[in-house]
Amino acid sequence: MSEFTVAYARPRREWLAAAVIWSAALVVTGLFLWIVGDIVRHGIGQISWGFITAAPADAGRAGGIGPILVSTLLILGVCMAVSIPLGVGTAVLLAEFTSDDNRFGRLVRLSLDVLAGTPSIVFGLFGLAFFAKVMGLGFSILSGGLTLACMVLPILIRATEEGFRSAPDDYRLSAAALGLSRAVTITHLLLPAATPGLVVGLVLGIGRALAETAALIFTSGYVDRMPGSLLDSGRALSIHIFDLSMNVPGGNANAYASALVLVALLLIINAAAAWLGEHCLRQRIVPV
């Protein structure tokens, strides 16, 4: 905080600019609050421990979302277990081992940007063709998780790469001048410094994965039983919400409640990702 308050002259134009900026911010915040408020208002009545743990009944109109929650978490788990190591590895390759004008690096970056903009339905069809059919995983949580991993990777890689690029060159030079290997420099100095980027990538990626419906219909399917293994089909929360609101007359109340659980889950997982990043990686360094 500055100790000084700068007294700006406020001509009319500046007021106008301020008004435009403030109202834009208000509209965005208002829209967000409206959506969340709507979900909470309609959904909170159904929420109970029973709803969260019980199996759905009567096509989802009654009962709860227990198996669906488990399937969602398993799909997300598969997705993250595959995409985080691959994503961080590729980000390290791009940021630390390829120069800006390296042909291979440019090709990888271009492909990632194209993939990041690819509609999720295309990923769904790819997952169906490749994971479900070619690899023989069928309609399963594994197929769904792997398909989501493909979707999330571009976001995760580019954000983590940015994190690595934002680490000052001082770290690299001073570490090299001390005879530290690149592997040591990356794990002890650069990865912690890149953590904010990694967390941003994770939050965006998890958001995209949890919200995904189209790609999962083709891959993890929509069986609403409790999955027995990763090779079972399982219904994700987003598909459940879609099904209840589009295909099941009288399913609106539980659709709202499921949406509320989804939003809460997203917030909890994002907070956990940020906390883990901060405490497991970032704290290895102590920038001022």
Partner: protein, 277 residues
């Protein structure tokens, strides 16, 4: 300054400075040239840096002094487009050989940068981390090295009660001394210093300068400086670089006394008298 170190100046007139060096070169370059893509940095530099001396590289900006330093510990390997020609020998080993052990080389030849660059770790971890990676894992040995090197750079008394504080919370001069301690903890034989005082205020600069002077005889020090008065105060030998035909060249190299008092080249005479540069 709590210990008034800044007032203590090991000032010797050039003539009566104690003999420092063995006339045995530790670092030797042969017709060394460097260019970045098509832009030359310096060319055809042949130098022999004596063991245990402080040798100052002086000259105007952009004449390749810093680039020369980064050739010596092969930091140029990290710069895309940097191309080195000629020979470098340090302690009898060919630095430019493809099979040179870079980690060992950089451990033997420490480097101090213009801007203090401690790691974003605690004060203690700044020394412990490189030590551990170089295989010094015994805790009591690490603690001992921590104390002796921090004492050597005059930092122990100032930081011994807050070794776990962030290194970046230290003042600029303290950070630079920590960086010197970090290099010294690895027991190098030579130190390359790239204008180590130029980012510091005069008082801190004086403290660091005294520290560098105290390294004489124990380490071979090659220091780039823009500060002629500093070169006069601490250097045993001096080399003047100048830009000619778009690239840095070595103009004159000799003992500090000779360079500053009886320069052979007209350019050196003009530079050290302050008429040019």
């Amino acid at each position: 300054m709590n210990d008034m170190r800044a007032e203590f100046r090991p000032w010797f007139a050039l003539a009566e400075r104690p003999p420092c060096c063995e006339p045995e070169p530790f670092i030797r370059t042969e017709h060394l040239s460097l260019h970045y893509r098509d832009k030359p940095a310096f060319r055809n530099v042949t130098l022999a840096i004596n063991t245990g001396c402080i040798t100052a590289l002086v000259g105007p900006s952009g004449c390749g002094k810093t680039s020369l330093l980064s050739c010596l510990n092969r930091l140029t390997d990290m710069i895309a487009g940097a191309h080195v020609e000629g020979g470098i020998e340090i302690g009898g080993e060919n630095v430019r050989a493809p099979r040179t052990d870079l980690i060992g080389l950089r451990r033997r030849v420490g480097m101090i940068f213009q801007k203090p660059n401690p790691f974003p770790l605690s004060i203690a971890r700044n020394l412990e981390f490189p030590l551990r990676e170089h295989g010094v894992k015994d805790k009591s040995r690490v603690a001992e090295l921590l104390e002796t090197t921090l004492t050597e750079v005059g930092l122990w008394r100032e930081v011994k009660d807050r070794l776990n504080a962030p290194a970046l919370s230290l003042s600029g001069g303290q950070q630079q001394r920590l960086c010197i301690a970090r290099a010294l903890a690895l027991k190098p034989e030579a130190l390359l210093m790239d204008e180590p005082c130029s980012a510091l205020d005069p008082l801190a600069s004086g403290v660091v300068e005294d520290l560098i002077a105290s390294l004489r005889m124990r380490y071979t020090v090659l220091i780039v400086t823009h500060n002629l008065a500093q070169a006069r105060r601490i250097a045993d030998h001096a080399a003047l670089f100048w830009v000619r035909n778009g690239a840095g060249e070595l103009v004159e190299y000799g003992s500090a006394k000779q360079i500053f008092e009886t320069p052979r080249e007209a350019l050196t005479a003009a530079y050290v008298s302050g008429m040019r540069g």
